[in-house]
Assembly symmetry: C2
Homo-oligomer: 560 residues x 2
């Protein structure tokens, strides 16, 4: 048996799965493999049929997840030359809530010929948004009944979460609801396929299925009030026992060992969520340091010693990110998407021409031009609500605003104003946490944006007045999963005692630190005060013009 030990992490994303093989001693990513799902995101027609989907649907095929395991693990083993004997653990993370109905043995209903034509038999992807009526119903009932758990989720359950999706199945296809012995997170389902053991991970249970360590799931009375058939959904269709993060779900089955080339019995960790598993991969295992996962949207995560009810947060879950702490999650629904919209819809041909000539993409050109501006120079201010507001207002009906334009306003000034707006949005989240008693002293950035846009990072530092560090890996999810695999293996097999120990060894930051520039901070403090005034005026009911415009739009379109 050689000295060096390894773990494998698999990050199941929206379009593909990404697998890394990582050295335990230093977190070095020795090999990587990516597997695009053959059926991808299913939002038009069910595979192998002519069944068309309605708007806002987004499904997946669970076969693709298994294929990802069987394809990528042999690839990383081969690429690295590492012996399966030295791979001591395996962890996975998943998008969430991504859920499916199965039989008692784990067979997905969509894999059975009699149900394959039923859209509700398939995996509902996190961004399946067709359960909004069910989410509304849940929220209204919870408010009426004064359900205590509602406050843990910023006062609103999202249509993306578990019970709205389950209720949609019951409403629209009761046959499938009845046929389902299990309604399960895809994260837990793939662990079940790997180990033969059904578990329910604490992270999705807490953040997506309204579970709490102290009070459990919502009561049967609540579910019965939603729908009589739903009273015993937890007992009947879900694994009631919730497993902590880093625990060992089981060992690799003989069949999976044969298919992947790993040893039978290789420890597999309880499942996790992509964003949450990135926190220890960003070196964060203690309170006070907020991880921002910045992509098309931004997810903010921070740990605390006590449960605090923070206005507009997405959720707080005890042990939900790192055991021993309350894990707080907040979010901005439009960040990278914001800039992508601008580049596609509002940048003149002359800029495209210049970018082409100079071998840049438009983002790079705009970043360069915007970086030449001083804070406050454009005279512009924006509200970052092009896709509604998640935290702290939790209102999808808010829309974007740009103020201060003149005949001299240039595209790069607007681009910068949009970046600044997302930075103000992050600052208001940070300040709301701090006002609620959750400290945020430092920021750690992960995701695609921090690597691509240095101007953005500096603006975030200047606006928030906090140092920003950057995660050392571009695949924080898969690394975090591998770390959990090492914890599931435990010290006896050469792994780690807990996620703190794993993070100390395996997680790293880049050398770069973005520090607030005091002169910039002074200007941004003034601009932020203006942002807050507009945020509150348009976001807290003084002038609901954005909602009235949306309603008018819907009326006008309905008359077509």
């Amino acid at each position: 048996m050689s000295e060096k030990k390894y773990a494998i992490g698999i990050d199941f994303g929206t379009e593909s799965a990404r697998t890394v093989l990582v050295a335990l001693e230093d977190g070095q990513e020795v090999a990587t493999a990516v597997f695009p799902y053959p059926d991808g995101v299913i939002d038009e027609v069910l595979p192998g049929s002519k069944v068309r989907l309605e708007p806002d649907w987004a499904l997946q095929n669970p076969v693709d997840y298994v294929s990802a395991v069987k394809v990528t693990i042999p690839q990383v083993l081969k690429e690295s030359g590492v012996s399966p004997q030295d791979v001591i653990g395996l962890g996975i993370d998943f998008t969430a809530c991504t859920m499916l109905p199965t039989k008692a043995d784990g067979t997905p209903l969509c894999a059975l010929p009699e149900y394959a034509q039923h859209p509700h038999a398939w995996v509902k992807l996190w961004k399946h948004h067709a359960a909004q009526p069910e989410a509304n119903q849940i929220n209204q009932l919870a408010q009426e009944r004064g359900e205590p758990w509602l406050a843990r989720y910023g006062g609103k359950i999202s249509s993306e979460w578990f019970f709205p999706k389950a209720l949609q199945i019951l409403h629209e296809d009761p046959e499938i609801y009845e046929a389902a012995d299990r309604l399960i997170e895809a994260a837990d389902w793939i662990v079940w396929q790997l180990t033969g053991v059904e578990t329910r991970n604490l992270c999705t249970a807490g953040y997506k299925a309204i579970w709490d360590k102290r009070s459990g799931f919502p009561s049967p009375d609540f579910f019965a009030a939603l729908h009589p058939r739903m009273r015993n959904i937890v007992r009947e269709k879900m694994k009631e026992e919730v497993s902590p993060l880093g625990a060992r779900a089981g060992g690799l089955t003989p069949e999976m060992a044969a298919a992947t080339g790993l040893r039978e019995g290789t420890p597999v960790a309880v499942a996790n969520v992509d964003a949450h598993v990135s926190v220890p991969a960003a070196t964060v295992v203690e309170p006070g340091r907020m991880v921002m996962i910045m992509g098309t949207s931004t997810c903010h995560m921070v740990l605390g010693e006590e449960q605090k009810l923070v206005p507009g947060m997405c959720g707080v879950v005890e042990d939900g990110i790192i055991p021993g702490f309350f894990g707080f999650e907040a979010g901005q629904s439009c960040v990278g998407d914001h800039f992508a919209w601008f580049v596609e819809n509002a940048v003149p041909g002359a800029y495209e021409e210049e970018a082409r000539r100079r071998g840049l993409n438009l983002h790079q050109l705009l970043e360069e031009k915007a970086a030449a501006l001083k804070p406050g120079e454009s005279g512009l201010l924006a509200l970052d609500w092009w896709n509604g507001n998640r935290s702290i207002l939790v209102d999808v009906d808010l829309t974007g605003l740009l103020l201060g334009a003149t005949l001299a306003t240039k595209p790069e000034e607007i681009y910068r104003a949009l970046i600044e707006a997302t930075a103000y949005g992050t600052r208001i989240i940070i300040e709301t946490f701090e006002e609620s008693g959750v400290a945020v002293n430092e920021l750690v950035a992960a995701g695609g944006l921090p690597e691509r846009n240095k101007l953005l990072m500096q603006i975030y530092a200047d606006v928030t007045g906090r140092e920003i560090k950057v995660v050392g890996t571009s695949q924080a999810g898969a690394l975090g999963s591998a770390m959990h695999g090492a914890v599931a293996a435990g010290p006896a097999l050469g792994g780690y005692r807990d996620i703190r120990e794993a993070a100390a060894k395996m997680a790293h930051l880049k050398d770069v630190v973005y520090r607030p520039i005091p002169e910039h901070k002074r200007v941004y403090d003034q601009l932020y005060a203006e942002y807050v005034t507009l945020h509150d005026y348009f976001g807290r009911g003084a002038n609901d013009v954005m909602k009235r415009l949306k309603r008018l739009r819907a009326e006008v379109l309905a008359q077509s």
Copy 2:
């Protein structure tokens, strides 16, 4: 002597003069000539020198005006084949306030070698904006003293007007101020050159030099409080007598007759202003019908029976447009400029490509795409303040706002929202007039925009709820001047008794009428209510964020 009689009108614009020869019986424009000023707009270096101008300066060379007369009149005579015997009158209109210092005989100071190097010796064009400190001083003093005339100008004298420009000369080059026997409108100066008679026309006196039929110019005490040397500016440097519009200033001098080919003694009308002279050319000689001259900005003019103080109007002058009525003027400072800014700065290359492929310009393409949208469909709302707000807020420090954007917002939706914003701006002007007792029952559109953009005209009809007619000529200024030439000639020479009679014969509308579409009007009423709420919130002091951003911008740039 043949039957048909003609008049000539010359419209002195910013870059060129335009001359038309018009048939009196029906207003037919028989011949047209355009003369671009050789020295154009002088805003960098004085002609024939190395003297550089400061920012915001805009001068002209008066020699160019005389050249325009001598070049274009022979051209229209030749082109038309009309005998000079049948040209019974001549009228001119000019940009205003465009003014210059001269000797007692009318010689411009800039034409004298001893003053040619003095910037202040030259013609100050209407858009010379360097007298803002002087305008501020005048406004402050007038407020302190409670000068009754201030309310006739919406509470603010513009830096473009006569006395700020005169005071700037006195402040910055007292030698020129002393040397000037006359400070005169270029409009009156060119009539002086044509006739040898110095007059001061009522239109510029009233709208640009704070003159009123009943109370005259501001008092010597007021001027003395501005500057001791200025106490007797009216008596010392201006023609005190003000001549009514349509009156005969004099007859063509022998020298000018020889140079132009017209008869010596041909009646020349008192001067007029380009926008104001367009009103009768738009068939409007009575109250209730508002003329909108729509180009880069929009000028709104309407007649009334009584003097009313309308908030935020540019001015009200008795007999200032049509003798016998009070002439009201209001304005929007950013209309065509608004759309031009958008097209230059915010339309993606793919649209440019499509326009090129289809042989359209970008405005045409955007108009076509925007026309496919229904009112309210975009969910967008804008404030048309990209260049501040003239009427009704009279505030240059306001800036543009766009609200309601989402990730699905398209360029044509923003384009349409900008058009709609200018229409709301016109509606608020109309409603302010009506609330002040000045009726506006119908709109007549002149200028470049109405011909180019039918969608815009329909939106204006839908938003204002009023029929819009369109002026029959694209050179309303020159036609209006020719009409005034016919009035100056009078019935004895085959001309007209007054401008009403001239308008009845010579002015025409196009066949097209834009009528409000009731379904559109209903939606726009809702959107307009939202516009007014935002207009008042940002424009009347509830949230002065636009001004604070402008101030911050100036501070930031000053630190560079």
